[in-house]
């Protein structure tokens, strides 16, 4: 079976939807966070696939940037979650409703 771009994109979409479901459904902040990363990587996969099949390097360059930024974002995000946990003694989204009036 020849593996074409459709297959890559299908995997990417599955990964993205799994990540999205995780973000929407899971209650634990850390898991939500990991799901978010999953979505990013799904996007990365799609970019790399397009790059490969179009013979252009732009997509791969963009992926490098995304990975770099994601690494930085992880550092900041985890720090925030830790700080939040220390303040609230909880990492569950149900407890984070201070935006409601």
């Amino acid at each position: 079976m020849h593996i074409g771009i459709q297959h890559y994109l299908a995997v990417s979409m599955i990964l993205f939807c799994l990540g999205l479901l995780g973000v929407i459904m899971r209650r634990n902040l850390l898991v939500i966070y990991m799901s978010l990363e999953l979505m990013l990587n799904a996007a990365n996969l799609a970019l790399v696939a397009f790059s490969r099949f179009n013979n252009k390097l732009d997509g791969q360059v963009l992926v490098f940037f995304i990975i770099t930024v994601a690494a930085a974002e992880v550092a900041v995000g985890l720090a925030l979650i830790v700080a939040l946990y220390r303040k609230r003694q909880s990492a569950h989204v149900e407890d984070l409703t201070s935006m409601k009036l």
Partner: protein
Amino acid sequence: MKYENLPWLILFLPLISAAVITLFTLRSKTVSSLISIGAVVAGFVMTVIFVNANGMQFSGETSLQWLEIGDLKADFGLKLDALSMMMLFVVTGVGGLIHIYSYGYMHEDRSMARFFACLSLFTFSMLGIVLANNFLMMFISWELVGVSSYLLIGFWFEKPSAGDAAKKAFIVNRLGDFGFLFGILMVWGLLGSLNFSALQNSITANPAALGAMATTAGLLIFCGAMGKSAQFPLHVWLPDAMEGPTPVSALIHAATMVAAGVYMLCRSLFLFNADSLHVISYIGGFTALIAALMAVQQNDIKRIIAYSTLSQLGYMVMTVGLNGPTPAMFHLTTHAFFKALLFLAAGSVIIGMHHEQDIWQMGNLRKKMPITFLTFTIGTLALCGVPPFSGFYSKDAILAQAWEQKSYLLFGVAVFIAALTTFYTFRLFFVVFFGKEKSDHAKHAHESSLVMTLPLVILAVFSFAGGFIGITNNYGSQFVHEHETFSAWQQFAEPFHNPFPMVCGLVAFAIGFFAALSLYKNATSDPLPKKLGGLATLMKNKFYFDEIYEATFIRAHDFLAAVADWIDRWILEGAIIGAIRGGTDLSGRALRLAQTGNLQTYAFLFVLGVALLLYFVLGK
């Protein structure tokens, strides 16, 4: 023009004084009053210097451009001619004496500094009217005079009656000023200028320049004078204005401010055509008549003099209407002397009587207050037109003017008023100074201090001699081209040129005097109500003008206000604003439900939104 800067200084010194008193010296009575007195006396001295240097027949203008909007050029300028210089003398001279008198009169009052600040503000505004070379500046000063009059009538604002009187004066004046402003705008629209000299030139060049609107414009401008000079039907504020301190009544509501209307008419006389002058003369005559009738049955010493002022102002306005600016201004000047004198003497009586103003509580004061009595007598004789007092000459000039203009109805009315004037003035005179003491206060009355009696004496001198010291010469040179200057002796004998009006005036005096003598020589209560019955009640209640206005205009105004209030409350605020506010509130409440505060709901909605967007952008 020599000493060109002096008039500016004369004008602005009182304003500076008012500012300095208000900002710095409000705590000190003495310093404040001295600053204020100093400003106006300095103004008088500078007026003398200026007139000496330039002569009375001189005429000139000095002005700065103030603003320019399109075609409208407004100058801030001073006009100096015989008319304004004579008025400068009256305002700073009589005003100065009243300032000095106030120092004694207001000595006990704890707000004396505020009083002098207001007085200075008034002097500035009045000088502004007198010196203005254009309608705009005159109108501004006109309003300033209204404000300072409001402040001074309401000086004892703790008394509700004083507050009400101040409001009444201001609002009634505003009614007149509304017409005045329209008149000014109309003149500007038709002639394209506000400067008096320019207006006069364009009218002289083309007498029909105002066209069909001439009468309307004239009458609208007269509305201003109607308010300030308290002419019928806007006369109701002046008697109530007597709630202010007596020096204020003397300065503002007798000598200067109420004369501003007459002055303005004379200043802009060229604008009036025969029809509007006709109306003006009849309104003046009618005011003079009803005011004199009302005065007959008043019992408050200040109110009697106030109605007399009203009546004399009617005389002046009538004379302007009879095309006689010279006699009108002549009477204005002599009236300023003797009416200020009468008011100040009345103030002296009031102080001596411990603030009792009812004449039926007084009596036999001539022995207790000799200087006041003597000066009051001179004022009375001048007001009644006894030769050779000043009032005789000016009143005779008015009667002669009416006679020469062949306005026999107004002549008859004027003679009748002269008799009435004598009657009510001598009624006051006999009841206050003769007969028995009618109360304990009258038994313990005392003469006032020198600072109060000295201005009385000076004013008495001018009230006596004002008829033949050249006042008519100066005004005459303003209004009559071929005016010849009379010597003192010629002025003294002037009434004999036209003996009939003079004889009528003297007969009127005699009738009034003997009627008052027989009725009031030793009266302890007023015998007139019994003899006149209903008429006396009418006179006493001022012909019910206040009540009529209350029932018609004020009631109608209240009704309009209630309607406006209803519309505002229920339609604007209730329906329109309520609907907008309620709608916002309701939609806010509904939309708030979407804000759950749950992070994941937001995330879901966000994704849903993106999905929808993608569907619409790419899906089709």
